[in-house]
């Protein structure tokens, strides 16, 4: 499998605080990777470096062989189009209704015709099970519904990879399932995904590979079976014992 994303010697510091330390990893096309680890280990920062919402302090991120750093704004925008992102706090645009949220980027960035964008948005809404909410405004939806709209919005750009930044952390427990279901369907359809999550059940069931992060490094990685059954590092053993009990 070809590498979709290549991370080379990535480091990120905020002032004196070194959050990411010399990370080099690859994401293959079609792979589902779950990044887990304790709070403050740099998981979100790592994910945000992948589409350069955070600018890496050192090192490189390549997407389909193209560097995302040291390029012009327009080239960066073109590459970002292909990297969908879903945030912990949904970040839907409150000044637009659901279908407008989904249509905005296809219309403005891809210059898609309105009819086509509408048709595509309706299909995506059906896919996430919200076909009846097209005309509603985000504020009137539940958290789980908002997050599913956010996923549909990211999918509207036909991305090559989807980045999920703790997509269920801000949800009430009873809504977590509906979002994970959509994500699982997406994984089964062959989408490449990098998911920062605390949902171990989801990670076990869906991930091809688990990356365990602590102290700004990826401490170990492996298939869910090996990682959850026989974690190698002391940090991982400690982390798993805490969350599984």
């Amino acid at each position: 499998m070809p590498n979709l994303i290549e991370v080379q010697n990535l480091g990120k510091s905020f002032g004196d605080n070194e959050v990411l330390k010399n990370i080099s990893e690859n994401v293959e096309k079609g792979q589902v990777i779950c990044v887990i680890g304790p709070s403050g280990s740099g998981k979100s920062t790592f994910l945000r470096c992948l589409n350069v919402l955070e600018k890496p302090s050192v090192g490189k991120v390549l997407f389909e062989g193209n560097s995302l750093t040291g390029i012009g704004e327009r080239e960066l925008n073109n590459l970002r189009e292909k990297m969908g992102m879903v945030f912990q706090s949904f970040n839907l645009f409150p000044n637009m209704n659901v279908i407008e949220n989904i249509k905005l980027a296809p219309l403005r960035v891809k210059k898609m015709a309105d009819a086509e964008a509408t048709q595509q948005a309706e299909k995506l809404l059906e896919r996430v099970g919200l076909a009846d909410k097209a005309e509603q405004y985000p504020q009137s939806l539940s958290g789980g519904q908002q997050q599913r709209v956010a996923i549909a919005r990211a999918l509207a750009m036909n991305p090559e990879v989807m980045l999920f930044d703790e997509p269920t952390s801000a949800l009430d427990p009873e809504m977590v399932g509906e979002v994970l279901k959509v994500m699982q369907d997406l994984a089964e359809s062959g989408m490449t995904m990098v998911v920062v999550t605390h949902e171990m059940g989801f990670a076990k069931k869906v991930a091809d590979e688990i990356w365990f992060m602590a102290d700004g490094c990826i401490q170990e990685k492996g298939t869910p079976e090996t990682f959850f059954k026989t974690p190698k590092t002391a940090r991982a053993q400690d982390f798993l014992s805490k969350i599984l009990n």
Partner: protein, 486 residues
């Protein structure tokens, strides 16, 4: 290093403000030729000084009349050009002359030595006495200068009377106001005990107000101080010469006493007969029109420029950011009145054809832009960074993010504050009246002059201002309600 750069911007900014002063004067005396070339003689006056100059209503239109206006008319005719009157505060007349806003000034002005240092004068064309206007109820108490001991005396700022009171009534407080009408209101409400005035003017006021009386308090006056002369820019000898010729003719035929004063008196009596406010509704209507024009245009440019400055201030480019910060801080740190005068007289010295209305709109717009910029900046900063991140992660550019995501949301948040700024603008625009823009405030002063009534026009203007701001608040509130759904 950063600090040094910032100070450099400020210095450049200040220099840009000062440079207009450096080439104000054109030395050679082609003044007369210039006036003839453009075909109009622009005359500055302060039309609240009957019988010298005041306004009269003829067929619904405001006309400047009085003996000075008659002289200006004759002078314009003698040199073969059209006459254009520019009405402004007495205080502003000499500045207007120095900055070439006007070609000459005729306003019952006395050629005092102090004034002669900055402008040239024609011969004296008329000599009047200096009187005192008092309340009739005080007639028994005040007869001579000595009787006013310890009392407050009113006089027009920058006028001869003001210096007279200062010099010859040392034990008295002088209350200086720009408009005679305001001084008369002050007198009627006993804020001052007397108002020093030129004879003819004082008599006019007394004739139109039964509660007022004129006395001659016996100011010690030398002839050069009581005579009125025409003011010209320094070095405009050709104009002075031409004016002296006209004055000689006027004196030879005794035109002032035979024609001009009787004509002025006739205008004054027609004025006092038509003192009902209903007759002056066109004045107020015109005032409303101009106030609305200034407000609407200034709101538009204030908003456009304000948005620009807000974006500049949020820019990561240090130069752009520094410029915006300097501008906003400077404008917010100086009074609008000073800005209005600076634009009209300062910038106007470079661009001499700059009309007062345009100058007023520029000043108010630039002022409003600084406040709007801060409102917009706070609105933009109130939008969570997640909105930007979501937009950028979809591949939208920074520009598209601002246009479709940030600005629409920010606008909704700041609408009440923005509305407040626009309401303020209606009220603050009244300041442009000082440079002679015929807004509501200015028109109100014209009505005061024309009717010799002080308080009623103020009250009417106040009600009109309130109706305008109140309706605007209602309209803004309507849109605010509409936006709530979005």
């Amino acid at each position: 290093m950063k600090k040094n750069k910032f100070f450099l911007f400020i210095i450049i900014f200040l220099l840009a403000l000062i440079i207009p002063f450096t080439h104000v004067k054109a030395a050679s005396d082609n003044y007369l030729q210039k006036v003839k070339d453009k075909g109009t003689l622009v005359v500055g006056t302060s039309a609240d000084y009957p019988p010298y100059e005041f306004t009269s209503k003829e067929n619904g239109k405001t006309k400047y009349v009085g003996l000075d206006v008659s002289i200006a008319e004759k002078f314009a005719k003698d040199i073969g050009v059209k006459l254009k009157i520019r009405n402004m505060n007495f205080d502003s007349l000499l500045v207007a002359l120095e900055t070439h806003k006007v070609d000459m000034v005729i306003a019952g002005m006395n050629p005092t030595p102090e004034r002669k240092t900055s402008v040239d004068f024609s011969k004296i064309y008329y000599t009047g006495n200096q009187y005192m206007l008092i309340n009739k109820s005080d007639a028994a108490r005040f007869k001579k200068i000595e009787d006013f001991k310890g009392k407050t005396i009113g006089a027009q700022t920058g006028s001869l009377q003001y210096s007279l009171v200062k010099q010859q009534m040392k034990g008295n407080d002088v209350k200086g106001l720009a408009k005679l009408n305001d001084l008369v209101i002050a007198l009627q409400s006993h804020k001052v005990n007397g108002v020093a005035m030129e004879e003819a003017t004082a008599k006019a006021f007394a004739e139109n107000n039964r509660t007022l009386k004129v006395i001659n308090p016996g100011f010690d006056i030398d002839a050069s101080q009581t005579g009125s002369a025409i003011g010209f820019p320094k070095g405009a000898d050709s104009l002075v010469e031409a004016a002296n010729k006209t004055i000689d003719e006027i004196k030879k035929d005794n035109l002032i006493n035979k024609e001009y004063i009787p004509a002025a008196a006739k205008n004054m009596t027609t004025n006092s007969k038509k003192n009902s406010m209903m007759n002056y509704w066109t004045y107020f209507a015109k005032g409303i029109e101009y106030t609305l024009i200034i407000t609407v245009v200034s709101v538009f440019f204030g908003f456009v420029l304000g948005t620009l400055f807000a974006l500049m201030r949020l820019s990561h480019n240090k130069l752009v950011h520094g410029l915006a910060v300097s501008y906003i801080e400077f404008v917010r740190g100086t009074p609008l009145m000073v800005q209005v005068m600076f634009v009209y007289f300062g910038i106007g010295a470079v661009i001499q054809s700059l009309p007062a209305l345009v100058a007023g709109i520029i000043a108010v717009s630039l002022n409003s832009a600084a406040y709007v910029a801060e409102v917009i900046r706070s609105g933009i900063e109130s939008i969570p960074s997640g909105q930007t991140e979501a937009s950028r992660s979809l591949g939208m550019s920074q520009k598209e993010t601002y246009r479709y995501i940030i600005i629409p949301q920010a606008l909704k948040n700041i609408w009440p504050a923005l509305g407040n700024e626009f309401v303020t603008l209606i009220k603050e625009s009244s300041i442009v009246s000082i440079i002679g823009v015929t807004d509501l405030m200015y028109q109100m002063q014209l009505v005061q002059s024309a009717t010799y009534k002080g308080v009623i026009p103020i009250f009417i203007a106040m009600v009109i201002y309130f109706l305008m701001t109140f309706s605007l608040s209602k309209v803004l509130g309507y849109f605010e309600g509409k936006m709530k759904h979005a």
